[in-house]
């Protein structure tokens, strides 16, 4: 069981949520956000309520997109791509998951 750096309330549900995020290779930090606020944060996103707020607004806007008459939003993941890093965002079970990852601009080398 990993030690969580951040405002983890210490319950099993939260660590179950974050274990998978911690293991993402090249991750620089993450946030788990609910309607009530930040549930967990770590790395470069530790206690970053400002980024959490901005991303929540972006997610709410993006979730309103619909393809012609469809009931569900047309995407699984939202990527906010910046110069050196990417925020990957998804929503599951009323919670927003954000992972900050290294943005590798080089094409993968075929060996």
């Amino acid at each position: 069981m990993g030690l969580l750096i951040g405002n983890n309330k210490g319950n099993m549900t939260t660590s179950a949520l974050t274990q998978g995020l911690e293991r993402i290779p090249d991750q620089l930090g993450y946030l788990v956000i609910s309607e009530d606020g930040v549930l967990a944060s770590a790395g470069e996103l530790e206690n970053d309520e400002h980024t959490a707020g901005v991303i929540m607004q972006m997610v709410r806007t993006a979730c309103r997109f619909r393809q012609q008459g469809a009931a569900e939003p047309p995407f699984k993941r939202m990527s906010v791509m910046l110069e050196d890093y990417v925020y990957t965002v998804t929503v599951s079970g009323q919670k927003v998951f954000v992972v900050k990852r290294q943005n590798n601009k080089r094409e993968p080398v075929m060996v």
């Binding site: 998978g20 309607e35 997610v59 699984k76 993941r77 998804t90 009323q94 992972v99 943005n103």
Partner: protein
Amino acid sequence: MVIEDVVIVCECDTYVVPQDPDVYKPLIPHPNPDSKPLNSTEWSSASVPSARTDEQALLTSILFKTALNIIDVSAADSQGMEQHEYMDKARQYSTKLALLSNSLSQKKPLPLPSLTSQPHQVLASDLVPYSDVQQVSKIAAYAYSAISQIKVDAKEELVVQFAIP
């Protein structure tokens, strides 16, 4: 030149499409249904616009509808209300308003839809390839350039003088 359409825009009117058709219903029923809101005798006999020419009928119906919506504060035959009637009405309105604002404040923001049941998998999978991002950026730049080149190509004068011999 044949004039096909004449559009009259009245700057004082703002039309908002209400979500709820009940929004135009009076909050409390009118106590004296026989009273007339306007002084003009034109409306006392015409409850339905009379059928003259098409244009005339259309104009009359527009004026009629506007008259129904206008609250004429300068109406000469305004009924004087006694103090107790006035207080009564004020009380009825505030009760009704309190009832309505209660039901309004219960609205909650829309819940977020669930995008996936596998958040860790989705977030761990490959990032969008940089070549794709470059391509989309190029397309967006072209679109921006195209839109900024949209111009009005004026062919003839908008306002002309009619030559009346």
